[in-house]
């Protein structure tokens, strides 16, 4: 087996480089630039502890005297603080690095939750059909008729009131992942179901049934790998959406606490000072958020054009 893997490993790399996707990527400057920016932001976020000059989670490192210092390139700027400091004297550059990391973690994990729920439900719904399909899809309709934010706000507000903000802040990350994940699964379920319905009619599925394979095997081994293209496309868009949802919730004070800031809570924390002249506390994390979401969406657009799933609903 290992010999075969080695043999295929070589050709796999060659296959990727020769694939349509690589070809179209090399010819699409927007995709290249977006990918580069996305990689820079992601790498910076992953290696935040190494890059950041201070640890923004440790309040003992702040000095209140450094509060509201403007970025280093302005007149009153301090070269020690590249992007200036916030109202408590925390280094904004470090806070943004850590905040981006938190935002990305929440976005990606929430999408994993969505994908797991949505793909399982969509596969079963599309493959089994009949009454089960009806029930599951009506369930998805109900879920979709509430906006994600409304569901999340109600749930988070209730749990904040229930557990007190101390406990809530401790588990805020998991809460956000769960709530954003659960609120958006119908997107996946519907797309997967539509693809499964199309794939199910193809003869290779009939052939697998005639060979006597079990339904689960046919779903997972045969239909799912052929339904991946639209899943990839919505995944990118959903990561961007989840990051925005997280930022919105944090901005409303229902998300990450200021002591463990995400991009949303950084924007929120600076919002009170924007009229007193400290624009940077809100603007810089805001720009990072916009750029991050934009490049993810641009990559998603490019991917959709290449993979061209027929049944994409954004």
């Amino acid at each position: 087996m290992s010999m075969m893997a080695d043999h295929q490993g070589n050709s796999l790399f060659a296959r990727i480089m020769n694939s349509n996707m690589a070809y179209s990527f090399k010819r699409n400057p927007v995709a290249i630039v977006s990918m580069a920016i996305f990689l820079i932001i992601t790498l910076a976020a992953v290696f935040a502890p190494l890059i950041a000059p201070t640890d923004p989670y440790d309040p003992s490192l702040y000095d209140i005297l450094d509060s509201e210092l403007p970025p280093a390139w302005t007149n009153q700027g301090d070269p020690k603080f590249l992007f200036g400091t916030d109202d408590q004297g925390r280094d904004l550059w470090s806070a943004i690095l850590y905040g981006t990391r938190t935002s990305l973690i929440i976005g990606i994990c929430a999408v994993f939750v969505q994908a797991f729920l949505g793909i399982s439900i969509g596969l079963i719904s599309g493959y089994v059909g009949g009454r089960i399909d009806n029930i599951l899809m009506r369930f998805a309709d109900i879920q979709l008729s509430f906006s994600t934010l409304m569901v999340a706000i109600i749930f988070l507000a209730v749990s904040q009131a229930l557990f007190g903000s101390e406990t809530f802040n401790k588990y805020a990350l998991f809460m956000l992942v769960g709530v954003i994940g659960i609120a958006e699964w119908p997107q996946y379920a519907r797309t997967v179901r539509a693809t499964v319905l199309a794939e199910k009619k193809k003869e290779y599925v009939d052939s697998a049934r005639v060979l006597g394979f079990s339904s689960i095997r046919i779903m997972v081994r045969h239909i799912l790998p052929n339904s991946l293209s639209p899943i990839f496309v919505i995944s990118t868009v959903q990561v961007a959406n989840a990051i925005i949802s997280e930022a919105s919730l944090s901005f409303l004070g229902l998300g990450m606490p200021v002591s463990q800031p995400s991009l949303g809570s950084l924007i929120s924390s600076g919002f009170d000072y924007i009229f007193s002249g400290s624009w940077w506390i809100t603007t810089i994390p805001g720009v990072v958020l916009v750029v991050l979401v934009l490049v993810i969406n641009l990559l998603g657009d490019w991917m959709r054009d290449v993979l061209n799933p027929k049944l994409y609903k954004g």
Binding site: M4, H7, K202, G212
Partner: protein, 342 residues
């Protein structure tokens, strides 16, 4: 056909019918007609009361035009669809009521080849994976080596170089894919193969290759075929017996040579005359009036009456019975029965 009595029947279809409901939910059945709300359930009668016996070693061809229910017959026999009425017996055992694991031994004995070689192989699986999967599934005790040997053997028998096993289906031409699809069906060593238009998606020179391969497999492995096709020249070459289907009913069933030498049912005659021959220098076929009616509301009486030149009052009211003729063919036609057709 009497001489076949010595050979055991491998498959028996007994008054098999299949209809598909057009109006599924309750709301869909409510119709507004002539100022009145009525409840009406429409269904497509794809296959109506078909009885057939296939004996071991023969190649029974089912011919007919699109919408005549020939693919439905194949899918009923292979278990992809459940019959609305009637029964299917395989080797004496009723199989249409079996489910899941109880059906597994019959899956191994009965395999299917599909029409479109571009759709019948999973595009994300290499040929090796596609061929190994059924071997492993049906022979859980096989070692890795045994599975590999089996795959190599099957690939060789269909004329595909085993060294191409790590490639994906899209790297092969249509003819090669159909060979691989046949190989996949043969991996479980079936004795009975259902072939649903296996060559109609292929080019002429490739059709001959695949047909030869199927003939070889028949001789080498003693296969029995249920061969669904619309191409009469293939039937003449490949089939030992032919069933002509029209609107879901069998109108004529005969040995191939008998049918081509002496077609009796008016529809069979029209069908045979419509095949363009190399020796023709102008179209010369029996013209049928009208078009095939939809199988939603079947006409009373003979299904073919609306297009038949010999139809009379009896054909409009009474469904003709399948009656055996002196040369062994079975024809369902009042005009033939009454001797109105020479």
């Amino acid at each position: 056909m009497k001489d076949n009595a010595s050979n055991p029947a491998i498959l028996e279809l007994e008054n098999l019918s299949k209809s598909f409901d057009l109006d599924k939910g309750f709301l869909e059945t409510i119709k507004f007609k002539k100022g009145r709300i009525t409840r009406e359930k429409r269904s497509v009668h794809a296959v109506n009361d078909i009885s057939l016996t296939i004996t071991k070693g023969e190649a029974l061809c089912v011919v007919g035009e699109s919408g005549c229910g020939k693919s439905t017959v194949a899918r009923l026999v292979s278990g992809l669809l459940n019959p609305t009425k009637g029964a299917i017996h395989y080797d004496g055992h009723r199989i249409d009521t079996l489910k899941g694991n109880a059906l597994l031994p019959y899956r191994k004995r009965m395999q299917m080849i599909f029409q479109n070689p571009y759709a019948s192989l999973n595009p994300r699986m290499t040929i090796q994976q596609a061929l190994e999967e059924p071997v492993r599934h049906h022979n859980p005790s096989f070692s890795r080596g045994q599975i590999k040997d089996k795959v190599t053997e099957v690939m060789q028998s269909v004329g595909v170089d085993p060294s191409w096993a790590s490639r994906y289906p899209h790297e092969f031409s249509g003819g090669q894919r159909q060979r691989i699809a046949i190989a996949r069906a043969l991996t479980v060593d079936p004795e009975f193969v259902i072939a649903d238009e296996p060559i109609s998606a292929l080019d002429v020179s490739i059709q001959a290759q695949v047909l030869n391969l199927m003939l070889e497999a028949k001789e080498d492995r003693g296969l029995t075929y249920l061969f669904i096709t619309h191409d009469l020249s293939v039937v003449q070459h490949f089939g030992t017996r032919v069933a002509v289907l029209y609107l879901g009913s069998i109108c004529e069933l005969a040995d191939t040579a008998t049918l081509f030498a002496n077609p009796k049912h008016p529809y069979t005659r029209a069908l045979l005359s419509a095949v363009p021959q190399l020796s023709d220098d102008r179209p010369n076929h029996i013209r049928l009036k009208g078009e095939i009616p939809t199988p939603i509301n079947l006409p009373k009486g003979c299904p073919f009456q609306s297009r038949c030149a010999y139809a009379d009052a009896r054909c409009g009211t009474e469904q003709p019975l399948a009656i055996e003729q002196s040369d062994g063919s079975v024809v369902a036609c009042h005009a033939v029965e009454e001797g109105r057709i020479d």
